[in-house]
């Protein structure tokens, strides 16, 4: 693969920033523009950039970034977010806020079913990207 020096160097800087932006978008999503989907897109874009420059697998960046693992995390978060309320004596899929805290960057962050739901979407989108990246690097290595 012919990778340019410029992009290689840039990606070393860009990828951490993109990952941070993803987390930022995720946490502020309930009150400001943001949310699980675009945070997941940002996360996926970071993975794609990193992998395409090095012709590598997402798991080379971190073992956590394996497609199957991220997807599993995704549906588990979704499931937990729906079951949180019945576990606390409420109704299926009802919104529950466990606690909240005020932050400088993200505004008020509510920890509860909604955050879990956003996390599920985030991991699903990121996991999907990782699976596709893994698929392609198979063909590349042959």
């Amino acid at each position: 693969m012919n990778s340019s020096k410029l992009l290689m160097t840039a990606s070393r800087l860009l990828v951490p920033v993109q990952l941070l932006i993803a987390v930022w978008l995720l946490l502020r999503g309930h009150n400001f523009p943001g949310g699980g989907f675009i945070a997941g897109l940002s996360f996926g874009a970071a993975l794609t950039l990193w992998c395409s420059e090095r012709n590598a697998l997402p798991e080379d960046l971190s073992t956590v970034f394996r497609g199957r693992f991220l997807l599993t995390l995704g549906w588990l978060s979704l499931l937990t977010s729906t079951l949180l309320s019945p576990l606390l004596g409420g109704i299926f899929m009802e919104s529950v806020v466990l606690f909240s805290f005020e932050t400088f960057l993200f505004g008020k962050v509510l920890v509860g079913s909604v955050l879990l739901f956003d996390l599920g979407v985030f991991f699903a989108v990121g996991g999907f990207t990782a699976v596709i990246l893994e698929l392609r690097s198979d063909g590349g290595q042959e």
């Binding site: 978008l25 999503g29 309930h30 009150n31 400001f32 523009p33 943001g34 949310g35 699980g36 989907f37 675009i38 897109l41 940002s42 996926g44 874009a45 794609t48 950039l49 992998c51 395409s52 497609g67 199957r68 997807l71 995704g74 549906w75 979704l78 729906t82 019945p86 109704i91 299926f92 899929m93 919104s95 806020v97 509510l110 909604v114 739901f117 956003d118 599920g120 979407v121 699903a124 989108v125 996991g127 999907f128 699976v131 596709i132 990246l133 893994e134 698929l135 392609r136 198979d138």
Partner: protein, 751 residues
Amino acid sequence: MNRTEQPPLRPVILGFLLAAVCLVSLSLTGILLADSPSTPADLSIPWLPSLGITFSLRLDGFSLLFLFLISGIGALVFAYSGSYIRAKGKSTSLLGILFLFFLAMCGLVAADDLILLFIFWELTSICSFLLIGTDHFKEEARKAATQAFLVTAGGGLCLLAALLHIGAAAGTFRISEILEGGALAGNLPAWVLCAVVIAAATKSAQIPFHSWLPRGMAAPAPVSAFLHSATMVKAGIFLLARLNPLFNTDPLWSQLLVPLGAATMLYGAVLAICFPDLKRLLAYSTISALGVLVSLIGIGSQESMKAALVFLTAHSLYKAGLFMVVGLVEHSTGSRDGLELHGLYRSLPLTCAAALLCGLSMIGAPPLIGFLAKELMYEAKIDAVIGGAALPAVTFLTSVFTVAAAAMVSFFPYFRRKRSSEIPVQEIPVPLLIGPLFLGVLSLAIGFFPQFVADAFFEPALIVLAPETTEVKLKLWHGVNPVLIISIAALLLGVILAYIRTTPSVQKACDFAVGALPPGPRVFDSTLSALLRLGERSLSIFPTRNRADFVRIALVGFALYFGLLLYWQLPAESYFSRLHLSTSLDWLNGAFLVLSCIGALKSRTHLAALLWIGAAGVALTVIFSTSGAPDLALTQLLVEMFILLAFAFLGASLLRKRLEKQRAAPSEYLLSLFASGALITFLLVTPLAEKPTELTRFFGERTLIEAGGANIVNVILVDFRALDTMGEVLVVIFAALGIHWLRKQWKEQEG
């Protein structure tokens, strides 16, 4: 890791662990039964309160009897399958699916909500599909699994329709409330009754839906023992017995069930002895037993319900045992041909003992539980109001053939002599013997303590099914009465029949019958492939040449459909006047958008087209952000970025390729583009120009107060409309997991 010749111990340990779980469930069931059999245990959690659906379980005597059988046989099956997997080198995931099935089956018999019942019902069908397809690399296993699933799931759809109607008519989905009032009894339309019967007939393999069950014998032995004899196929019986109070006042109920059951029981019993393959033989004899149960429920008297309960228990015990035995014999000798095997009693003495005990229970020999069941069954059939003399006659014939089948499965392989040399056998691990031996001994033991079992299990269950019951008497010896004489006659005739079965001419006739008679799988396969061909044909009426043509057809279809819809419901006033492209920025953006679209159309390479489309996306982003939708703008921008990155990553070589020339006439494209473009403009203008609707106000008012979020779009997505979002996300997740597994398999095949 010890990777020498010895297969891993992991499945065995896991099997015993799961068996222990079943034992816990068994003892809990036992405690509940002993504690308060008359007052059912209740558990109810609101699930979807707006639809009146609850997650409610209820354990009355009838459910407990089923739970006891499921847990008890489950424990033995799990203990058996661990060693079976180890001996056969199968995947451990078999245990996981079996356990999922166990949970689903427990849920099915305990459910007190119609919708919950349906969910568990379908879950057992799915588990059955996965388990029959354990050896999915074999084509026959795949086909068998598909047929079993399509037939039982088709019945499931009938069940859903019926349950929804019952729920709507009763005003509640709680089964206990529906049955308690008795207001619905006899007031349901005939189609509901028929739908319930079809659902039960597909699940419990009644004629003409039966052929999935013998075909499902492609599954490993523990699966056949657990699902396809002892538990899952009894789900249909469970349903019929559970809903019996709703329908039994309708004469149609017994007019349908009794002939259905009678035909099935005779057909199954006759075909059973045609098959020398012992697993097939057992499958057909299971069909026959299910027919007996259906006809007993159809008769509907207290006596017949009692007979059904005892027969069901007896059958579960002996049939599960026999399936396990056949699995052992196959493992040990490599064959399961009942006429080929011989003289095994010396080499496999314990297996032979288990087979004999279960076989004796099957033919109804005293003092086993099978004898009790058969006597009760005869009494119920003779006393039945419906059917006259035909019903006992059919039952008699069925018994004769059942005796012959039992001889073929549990006598011939062990005691027949042949001139040919002795069959070489492989040693059977001891844990594999626990299950069948225990079931055989239990069948015998119950015969000695019938009254104890009747008090503990059958009485609480019968009180649920026939409320007028006060006590259940069960005894071995009824004195010399017509029933005893009939069953002795059936026994003798059956033995003669079994003897005749071994003669060469009858064998030839049977082989011919096997080749010609059961056309079920063939009919199913050809119907399925005809349907698939029809789908392909219907696609070929479109003159498609490439992807662009597909898009064109889709656009025209879309324009036609919505155009007609709009034509019929045309809004009164025109909205075009309200269009406001007021600021100069809007005009600038619009011009940029049109320009980039033209650029995309004119570009000669993929890369150029992609960049132009990206430019159009940026223009859209600006429009979104200026008209107060920062969320949409952000999403649009990220999606554009992502698409560009993905293309750059996936198709670096593709991007430099020239776009291929379109072969269709430009006028065709212009027409479709114009039609759909005009329509979309119209659709967009209509709602955009409207004043804030009620929905807008609703979300505006409640977002912050009820959901605690200031971002309305996000709150709608993750809270108000969370179910939609979750469906979409799950589709993404499972599609990706599918890709992942396909890739993994592909990699393994490549080496």
